[in-house]
Structure formats: C-alpha cells, structure tokens
Symmetry: C2
C-alpha cells in the first residue's frame, strides 16, 4: 500500500468526456449535477443517507499525482492536453446536500455539485460509490434499529464485505443507530466504540471449555461475555457460571433456534443466581429475525452479513445526473435525458420536508429552470430545509468530516427519524412513507 | 489518506483472544486454521475463488505501527504485554491454498493457515473480507461469462459498491472471464484493460446531440462508441451515422427493452450501410438478461450493479476455523465445534479434484487428524492436487501478487472451467455440480 490519491476511483469515460469537451470548448461551461435515487429499492419506506463525510475526505485527496498521470499516459487513456489539465486539477466548485444521517425519498437531491463540466463530471463515480454503499448499509441498519427498540446493536459484519467497505459499513451503521462495531479501524478512524471478546477458536485452543473461560476471565475480568455454544450450550452455561460466578457479565449465543435457546439459557442463568448476566445473540440476524426475538429474553444483538450487504438491497441505486448547464451565450438551461424508464427531471432542485404536527407528510422539491435555487417553501407550511453547504468554491467544511462529523450525523439521524409517520416503521415491503412532490418554479 | 497498515482491518475479539492466550500460555501453541464455505449460497453450482493475490499484498502490510498501537492503547483494547507483542508482530507462519481462479465446492479448503495461535488468529477478518467479497463477484462473473459465450463482457459497476471494493470487483471479474473494466484504478494497479467513452451528461452538455457526437469523434476518432439513447434512439442512430459515417465503431444502448431495441438498431444500422458498427448494451444486465439476449444482434455487454453485488449473493459465506492444534504435550489434535447447524470437521484437509475423461466428478478431501497433510489421492484416480504453497515461514511467493498474479489466475480459471460437467453451466438454482467427499486418514 502506498499513500494514494483517490483520483482513479473513476470510470474511464469521465476522462474521455473531459478530453472531448476540452477539444470542443465545452469543458468550461458551468454545470449543476445532482445525485438522487429514482426509487427506494427493496420496498423500503425511507432511505438513510450516509457517506457524505467520508466523501468529503476523499474529494480532498482527489488529485492527479505522478503515478496517476504516468498510468494515464502509458495506457493512452487521454491525450497530452488532457494530461496537462489533470496535472493542475483540483475541485474548485461547490457542493451542497442533505445532512449525513438525513432520510431520503425518490427524487431527493441528496447531493448537488456545481462547477465547470470539467471539474464536476469527474466526481461522478467516487460520489456514487461512497453514497450508494454507505446509504444501503445505513438504510438496513435503521430498520434493524427500529426492530431492536431499546436493545443495543453491535455491527460485526467486517468479514462479509470488502476489507475497506467494512470500515464504511461500521460507520454507516453507527450513524443509523447501531451502538458499537467489532471493526478496529472504524474505532481508530471514526471514533466508534468497539466490542468483542472471543470466538469458538479460543475455546478449541484449550483442552477443556473451562480452561478457555478461565483464561478469558483472567484477562478480561468477570464482566466479560463468554461464548457458550462451542459444544453443548447447557453445559457451557453451567461451566461459565461455575468459573466466573453469578456476576458474569454476559453469555453469547451464535447458533441454534434463538428464541427457544435464549429462553432456556435465561431460565438456567436465573436458576444459577446469575440474574444480571446478559444474553447476546449473533447468529445470522436481520431486521426480521430481530423482530422475532422481541419477546425473547435477549439483551443485545450482534449483526453481520445482512447488515453489510444491505439486507437484500446491497446498493442504494443512486445516480449522478446533469440537470442544468450554461448555454453558449452564458444563459442557464435545465437539461434531462428522456431514455425509456430512466427519464429524469431537469433543473436545479431545492428540497423541504413538509411536516404536520411534527410528522413528515411530504418531500417537497422546488424545481428551478436553471442555476439559481428555486426559492423557499410555501409560507403557510411547516417545512424544514434539507440542504446545507458542504464545499464552497473548493473549500471543504471540515465540521462534516472525521469523528465529529460521524457523531453529528448520528444525532441528526436520531432526531429526523422521530419525524417519520408510524407506517414508515413497518418492516414489510411497501412504497415510500411520504410522497415526493415536485413544484416547478419558472 | 495516509500510508496505512492493514492491521486494524480486524475484529476486536482477535486481539482480546490474543491477550487472554498470552496470559494463559496458550498463545504459542501451533495451530492450523482453514478457510472454507459450508454451502454454495444462492443455489450456485460452483464457486470461483478470487482475492488470494490481493490478500497476500495485504498480509505484507499487516503490521502494528505507531498509529495502530496508540489507538489500541488509548482505547484500552488490550493490555501492555499484548501491545509489546503486537509491536514486533509479523506473520511468520505458512499459508497454502487453492490457486486464485480455481473452482470450489462446499468444504473445499481454499486457504490453510499454519502458525502459532497468536499469529494465525489475527488474519481471520482480513482473509475473510477479501476472499468473501472477491469470490462472490468472481462466481457471479463466471456465470455471466458462461451466458455471454464468445461475446466480450465489460465490468462497469464501480458506482454500485464501495470505492475500493470496486477495484477488487473489477479484478475478480477479469479473473472469472470478463475482458475489461471501466475502473481506472484497476487498470493502474492490476493491469486490467479499461474501456469507456461517454455518458448521457456529455450529450446534455451540448445544444444538440450531433454537436456532442461530433466532439466525441474529433477527440476519439470514428472507431469510438456513441451513446445513442439520450433522446430518441432512432434519431440518435441516424445522427450518429450521419456525423461519423458508416465506419462508426459502435453504438451503446443503456435503456429500453433490449432484445427488441437491439434488433431495430441493427436493422437501422445495416440500412445505413453501417454493417460493421457494433452494438453494446449496458442496462441492468445480469446473467439471466444476458442469456435472454443470446439470439439478439448484440456484440458486447457491459455489466454493473448485479456483478459487483454478486448477483443476489453478495458474500461467499466463507468461514475461518481452527481445525488442528498442538496439545500441552506438543502432540497434534484435530478440533471442531459442534454448534447446531454450524458443526465443522476437525483435522487438516488435503484436496483433490477427481476427474473422469477430463470432466470433474468429485471434490475429494483427505482429512488428517493433526498437522501433517493427509497424503495423496488413490493411485487409480485421475486426481488433480488443488493446494499450492503461498507463504512459507513468512515469505510470500510474489508470483501470485500484482498484475502477473491476476493474469495467471485468469488463465487458470479458463483452464479449470473446462473441467466442469455440462450441468454446472446451467443458470438455474440447484446444488453443487459435483459432490464433496471427505475421507478420514487416521
């Protein structure tokens, strides 16, 4: 691994478009791109935006250094004039968007990028990669958090997604309501609490289960959580309390029919006097399994595979579209393709969440024909403006980056989730919880 | 971004187990861990192993530098003795495994890690992250390549997965039979051919479609591929040939009912004398859509979302299990947990692909009780040994790394796919194409 620029996390066609635009004189036309999703995949009732703070970090490192330029030259990806342009490239445009942790619906302009065509077109792949993956995980995480109610949730899916996506997944899950992660890099980089004690291999390393438990307790204290299902669960629980005493912090169950097993283990623990010992379950959970366990005596959940793969919807399906640009005479014009099933709506969007007695009723999107924002929501409505400035003329607002940005996003998500109508909290497949209403402001 | 160690792409419990084992004196026991999948998720008939070469690179960078140690100390993840151990940690054990690009089946020991418990337990998360994601993509890619037959396939899904997983996905798809990628970083790092010309935004940047086509052709020549579905496809094709002439390289269709649209476009192109102009289709393809297009006049496919998300199976479901260890007296013993539905088979495995007249008939796995490999396959069988050494006492075999490793894996995959029985090539859900047979060698 070397200290890398992020500039080649980019589809080749962005650079070939740049080359063609530099030649034809259109590269310097000012443009507005918007990032949004046409629908909520998987019958979701809302989406949760995540990745914005991470994207800002990555845009900071989006530059063409010697390694990148040499590759583009050697592989003849672009011509010499384009290479010269890339050498001094920095994004000097502006970006606004929904706050990280905010809810979104079909058509919500979660990110708006303004700049010359040359500078804005190049961020397409990077912005989509980050927001599509992170939002898919955050959306699944929010559903799991709703299902879990007051019980804590830990993210432990690193092993079931790419090694760096794992860090992003831990971050997205924390924003959407998870309480901790097993991933140490997420702890280091994003300030997320980490958790974890032992795997089955630790028990198997020892001659007897009791030897493993004793070793763990000597190192981590009786407040630790012992994994009791390597062999027979009933024997494992007995051994755990015999070794640790009734003050044992917790036991973890990673297999079996969890509602039944959890009830039996709770009764066994109580019978042994270990009434304060908590039960954590971690076997192949998703939001539906968590809901099924609501009445079982479970104290916390660990979720892996289904979380980091978006629980059946591994990508948020967002797209990055040119919606307005300058014409040859300098005037602004809204633009949109009209491809079958993929038509989009031209013009710059300004978005509001309309509420009635504190409950969201509508995603209101005012559409301007050109560059200028389309003004304000109707004065008689309780409407919350959804977009905030993120990058101004190339200057990144650092308050959205790093651990502070993550914790602010988590707090924002908790607040805005309270606005959701009750029907949005159901887990079944359905349409968006509130309608998206476009209003043209000519 | 800073120049990073990979040591914290790790679940916290690996370090807490290390701490407990260092205290109890079991950390130096020699161990054998195996990485395998219990089943082929998604009704797949075979799996394709990918990620091995990438994993070797990452193991090379698995070290605890000041940043990592400071975090582990500040967050009180482990005690001082464990920090001291980690400071000088390097993996000095040995690793063997299936060649990258090889097929696998339930129970196939695709990676075997030998070393002390302390050094081997820490690679669990990293090894699983890499092989689970990359193999899920490679397995989907192989099915698409089978469906595409002789028509070339391009990977263009970077925007639908995490920005670094995107690079891994391009690499895995290439190994499993794709011909090119849109991802420039995959081109730079892994030597994979890149492709791509223009998006709809390039057409929308210009006043008229013909202006955009002319600009693209001036930059990239008439051999380029024009995207003709921004507005009306029929008009787009007419404009394309009018601007480029009948020698136009290709047109790309990214929307609509592709079998019907492709046939209409082919007839239109032929009518305009552009009989050599190729048709590329790229709209929401997966292996089933590709199969549906077999009779349509399509020349090549571009695949995005479904490929990088494993076409419904976004993780390969592999696990990392302790299968043998030294006892207190130095003797070796096979170990396995017996958890409900997750029981595994102890003892070190040696794997062979048994063939009959060149066609695979069986995954034969010889199981030893302890450390020593379990010998050879029956002499009367045509059996190909599947495991090769990858790391020997900490020394990584560099021939599996970098672009050379990727190209060797691609060639190996093409060879071994020829061994599959015909029933393995069907796309429908079913069981493994060949049975896995375990033979205990006591």
């Amino acid at each position: 691994m070397t200290d890398r620029s992020t500039a080649l996390f980019t589809d080749r066609y962005e650079l070939t478009m740049l080359e063609a635009a530099l030649r034809s004189g259109t590269a310097q036309r000012r443009c507005v791109f918007e990032l949004f999703t046409r629908r909520l995949s998987g019958g979701r009732r809302f989406g949760v935006l995540a990745g914005t703070g991470r994207l800002l970090d990555l845009i900071r490192d989006f530059r063409f250094d010697d390694d990148e330029l040499r590759y583009l030259q050697d592989d003849k990806v672009v011509d010499a004039a384009t290479l010269a342009f890339l050498k001094s490239y920095r994004f000097r445009g502006s970006v606004s968007g929904y706050r990280e942790g905010e809810l979104y619906f079909p058509g919500s302009p979660v990110l708006t990028i303004e700049g010359t065509f040359a500078e804005a077109v190049m961020l397409e792949t990077l912005a989509l990669s980050v927001l599509n993956y992170d939002s898919a995980v955050a959306t699944a995480a929010a559903r799991m958090a709703i299902a879990a109610g007051d019980r804590p949730l830990a993210e432990m899916g690193s092993r079931r997604t790419g090694e760096r996506s794992a860090v992003a997944a831990a971050r997205a899950a924390f924003i959407a309501g998870f309480d901790a992660t097993s991933n140490l890099e997420a702890g280091r980089v994003w300030g997320i609490p980490t958790m974890g004690t032992a795997a089955h291999s630790f028990t198997l390393l020892h001659e007897r289960e009791q030897d493993a438990f004793r070793a763990q307790i000597e190192a981590l204290g009786t407040g630790t959580t012992l994994l009791v299902d390597t062999y027979d669960i009933r024997t494992g629980v007995d051994t755990a309390i015999r070794v640790a005493g009734p003050g044992l912090g917790g036991v973890r169950l990673d297999s079996g029919d969890l509602p039944i097993v959890a009830a039996a283990v709770r009764a066994q623990l109580d019978g042994l006097g270990a009434t304060g010992t908590k039960i954590t379950v971690t076997s192949d959970l998703d939001e539906y399994a968590i809901a099924t366990l609501a009445a079982a005596p479970v104290d916390s959940y660990g979720v892996g595979t289904s979380l980091v793969t978006g629980s059946g919807t591994p990508t948020a399906g967002m797209v990055y579209k040119l919606v307005a640009r300058q014409a040859a005479d300098g005037s602004w014009v809204g633009v949109a393709k009209s491809s079958a099933d993929k038509a989009s709506k031209g013009g710059r969007k300004t978005a509001f969440r309309v509420r009635d007695a504190g409950t969201a009723t509508q995603e209101l999107i005012m559409v301007a024909d050109g560059f200028e924002p389309a003004g304000t929501a109707p004065e008689d409505a309780d409407a919350r403006a959804l977009q905030v400035p993120l990058i101004d003329g190339g200057d990144i607002d650092a308050s959205f980056e790093g651990p502070a940005g993550v914790h602010a996003a988590r707090a924002h998500h908790a607040r805005v989730r309270e606005e959701l109508p009750v029907r949005a909290l159901a887990l079944s497949r359905s349409g968006p919880a509130i309608p998206t209403v476009f209003v043209d402001v000519a």
